[in-house]
Amino acid sequence: MVFAAGGCLLPCFGCIAVKRRDVLAALAAGGVLLGSERVHAAAAQPKRGGRIRVASLSSSTADTLDPAKGALSTDYARHYTLYSGLTQYDAQLRPQMALAQTIVSTDNTTWVAKLRAGVQFHDGKSLTALDVVYSLMRHKDASVGSKVKAIADQFKSIRAASTNEVVIELGGANGDLPTLLADSHFVIIKDGTTDFRTAVGTGPYRLKEFIPGVRTVAVRNDNYWKSGRPYLDEIELIGIPDESSRVNALLSGDVQLINAVNPRSIKRIRASMTSEVLETKSGLYTDLIMRQDMAPTRNPDFTMAMKLLLDRELINRALFRGFATVANDHPIAPSNPYFLQGLPQRQFDPDRARFLLKRANLLDIRLPVYATPAAEGSVDMASVLQESAARIGLKLAVNRVPADGYWSNHWMKHPMGFGNTNPRPTCDMLFSLMYKSDAAWNVSGWNNAQFDQLLLAARAETDEARRKQMYGDMQVLIHEHCGVGIPVFISLMDGYDKRLKGMGSIPIGGLMGYSFADHVWWDA
C-alpha cells in the first residue's frame, strides 16, 4: 500500500461545508450556472492575517501540552495547532501525508516512512528520524501515562534507518497504520522532550502563552512546512464549559468559533445573521451497555429485548432535534466507507420485546440503569427507555450518577448502564479497542471467537473488497449478538462567525477534527 503526498484535497474543505442551499443561492445570485470549481475559487481565496478566539467545551488545570496526555477537545485542538503528525486526516478520514512524504509497506507489518525534507521545529532544529522514533515509542512506556498506549503496544520496534527514514515494525499486520498515525496523540515532538511547560513542534502555529485552565495563545509559524499556510496571525484557545455561555460568547462576538453546540441553540445562532452552525455527521455514539458476564443482562433474549425497546426515532427527534443519525446497534456510521449497506434497520418493537422477556421469565424483575451527564444524552435516553419498558410491564429504575468519576466507578461495572464512544478513524481501531474479547474496554464483556478471528484476518487482508466483506460480517455479529444497543450517531455541532472561512468537516471531532488551525482564514 502506498500513500503519496498530495496537496489538492485539503483546500477543498471549504466547499464540503457549504450547504447545498447556500450554493444554490450563490448560483442564483450570479445569474449563471458556473462550474463548481469556479464558484469555489471565487468564494474562497484565503487571506492572511486576523486573530480569532476559539472556545471549546472543556478547560481545566489538567490541560496539557503533552500530546500523549491529550484527553479532551481543547487538548486535541491545542496539539494540532502546535504540532504536526506524520499524516493527517482528510474529510473522509483517509490519511494524507504530512511530515511523512511516503509511508510504504509490502506486508502491512513492516512500514517505511520517508520524512519530508527541510521541516524545522519552532526552535529551528531540523526534523530527523530520531524525533519520530522518540515521539512514537514513548507511548509504550506506562509511566508516560499515554492515552493511546493500547494502540502503541502494536509497535514492536521503531528505528531510524537514516536521518530521514523510519522503519516501523508492527507486532502483527495492520493496514491502517498511516491512518492511526494521524491521531493527535501521535504528533511529532523533539527527541528527548520530557518537559511540557512549553511546546516545540512543527505545527502551523507556535506557542506564545499557555496557562492551563485559562488560555493558550499561538502565533503563526512563518516557517511552516506547508507553503502559504497558515493564514491567521494569532489564535487564542479557551474553554467555556457552560453551553449557553459558549453560545452567548459567540453571539456577542467575544469568540469566533465554538464546538459542542446543543441542538436547542441552533435556531438562536442561525437567527443571529452573524454566525452559522456546521453539522458534522460523525461516529460519536452513546450506547446502552448490557454486560454479557452478569445476570440478568447476559440472557440473549433480555439483550435483544432492550435493543428492541430503544425508540430510535424518538431519541433522534426529541433529544437531538434531528441532528443525529439513526443507528443499528453496531458502531459503524453510515458515512464510513466500510458501512454495511442492506443490513435491515432494527425497529422499535415493544411487542416482540415483551414476548422475549416473557420467554426468558425476566418481565417481573426490577433493574437499575446507570446514566450520567458524562455520556452525552444518556440521562434522557434512560428516561425514554424507562417509559417504553414501563408500557410493557418491565420496571427499570434510572440511576442518574454524576459525571465526576463515572468512567472509573460506574462505566462497565453494572449489568446495565450507558457509555459513550468518540469517533475513531478506522473500523479496526474501534473493534480492537471496544469489541474484541480481550480488549480493555470491551464494554459489554462480549466474547465472540468468530468476531476476534475476523478482526485479525481483516488487519492483514490487502484485498480491499474482501476486507470490506469482513468488516460487514463483523457489523452483523455485533448487531445480532453483542451486548450494546446503539440508538443514534450524534452529529458534532460547531458554531462559527461567518467571517471565518475555510471551515469544513473532518468527522473525527468538532472544530474540523480539532485541526481548524491548519485550514481556516479570516475574511474581514
Binding site: 489538567a62 484527553a71 499515554s146 469568540v255
Partner: protein, 316 residues
C-alpha cells in the same frame, strides 16, 4: 492598643490550629471521593496497568498519612508541592489565579460596600417611609434572584442584544481603563446583586436597633438633626454588627464567585479549586482550601478589630 494586640495574637494562634484541622478534614473527605488523580487523568482510557504506573509516578502508591505529612511539611517550608494534574508547581498555579480573584473581589467590594451602607443608612433613617419600603422590596428581590439568572439575563441583554459589554470577562494583559471596566462590569454587577442586599439589610437592622435606644431619644430631644443623630451617635455603636455582616459577605467573594467565574469564563481561584476536586489534585485542593480559610479568618478578625476600635465600651 494592647487589647487589640492581644486579641490578634490569640486569634492567630487559633487560626493556625483551625487551618490544620481544616486541611486534615479536607484531606480525609477527598480521600473518600471515589477515584484518584491517576484514574481521573486517564479517564475512560484507564487500564489497571497504566493506572498503576501513573500512581507510582505521582507518588499515589504511598499510604495516605505519608502523603499528608509530605504536603504538610512542604507547606510549612513554604512549598505547597506539585500539581498532580499537570505537574506544575502549585504556587505557580495559585499565583496566576489568586490576583485575578482579588481584583474581582476588590472591585466588587469597592462598589458594593459603599452602596450597601448608603442603602442601609438611608432606609434606617427614613424607616417606615415609602422610600424605606421601596428599598426593602428592592433588596429583598435582589437576594431572591439567583446569581446565575442575573448573570445570564445580563449577558443576554447587555452583551448579546445590545453588544455594549463583552460576554466573557477576560481583559487583555495591557488593557486600558475603558477595556478594563467593560470587562469587569457584568461580573461585578452580578456579584453586587448577591452581596449588597445582605449587607444593606444588616446595616439597616443594626442601625434601627440603635435608633431605638434611650440615648438616641436624648440626642433627638437635644434638638440634633436626624442625619447627625444617625451618623455621629447611632452609627459608631452599630459598626460591630455591620462590620461582621460586611466581612461575611466579602468572604463569599473568593470561593463563592464560582458561578460568576463559570459564566464569564473568568480565571479565578474558585474554578481552580473545582478543577482540583475533579482531577483529585490533592496538593492544589489543599492549598486552595487553606487560602479560602485564611481569607475568611482574616476578614472576621478585621471585623472584630473594627468593632473594638470603633466602640469605646468594648475598649475597656
Amino acid at each position: 492598643v494592647r487589647q487589640v494586640a492581644l486579641l490578634i495574637a490569640r486569634r492567630v494562634a487559633w487560626a493556625v490550629l483551625t487551618l490544620l484541622l481544616v486541611s486534615l478534614v479536607v484531606f480525609l473527605i477527598t480521600s473518600l471521593l471515589p477515584g484518584d488523580a491517576a484514574e481521573e487523568a486517564l479517564g475512560q482510557g484507564a487500564t489497571p496497568e497504566t493506572v498503576a504506573a501513573l500512581r507510582t509516578q505521582l507518588g499515589l502508591d504511598q499510604p495516605a498519612y505519608l502523603r499528608y505529612w509530605h504536603w504538610l511539611t512542604g507547606m510549612f517550608a513554604g512549598n505547597p508541592g506539585q500539581s498532580l494534574a499537570n505537574n506544575m508547581p502549585v504556587g505557580e498555579l495559585i499565583a496566576q489565579r489568586l490576583p485575578k480573584s482579588l481584583v474581582l473581589a476588590g472591585l466588587t467590594a469597592a462598589v458594593a460596600v459603599p452602596l450597601a451602607l448608603l442603602i442601609g443608612v438611608w432606609s434606617a433613617m427614613y424607616r417606615g417611609s415609602r422610600l424605606d419600603r421601596v428599598l426593602n422590596v428592592m433588596t429583598l428581590s435582589m437576594v431572591a434572584v439567583p446569581e446565575f439568572l442575573v448573570a445570564t439575563v445580563g449577558v443576554l441583554i447587555l452583551a448579546v442584544k445590545l453588544q455594549w459589554l463583552p460576554a466573557l470577562s477576560s481583559p487583555p494583559a495591557n488593557a486600558d481603563l475603558g477595556q478594563f471596566l467593560r470587562a469587569y462590569a457584568l461580573p461585578v454587577l452580578t456579584l453586587c446583586f448577591v452581596i449588597v442586599a445582605q449587607m444593606a439589610r444588616m446595616t439597616r437592622a443594626a442601625l434601627i436597633d440603635q435608633l431605638g435606644q434611650p440615648y438616641i431619644e436624648n440626642a433627638v430631644l437635644k434638638g440634633l438633626r436626624p442625619a447627625r443623630v444617625t451618623l455621629r451617635h447611632a452609627l459608631p455603636n452599630a459598626i460591630g454588627p455591620i462590620a461582621n455582616a460586611v466581612a461575611l459577605s466579602l468572604s463569599y467573594l473568593l470561593g463563592g464567585a464560582i458561578i460568576v467565574e463559570t459564566i464569564f469564563n473568568y480565571p479565578g481561584i474558585a474554578s481552580l479549586m473545582v478543577d482540583a476536586v475533579t482531577s483529585r489534585d490533592m496538593p492544589l485542593l489543599q492549598t486552595c482550601a487553606m487560602i479560602f480559610c485564611t481569607a475568611y479568618l482574616l476578614l472576621v478578625l478585621l471585623a472584630d478589630v473594627c468593632a473594638i476600635v470603633s466602640n469605646p465600651r468594648l475598649r475597656t
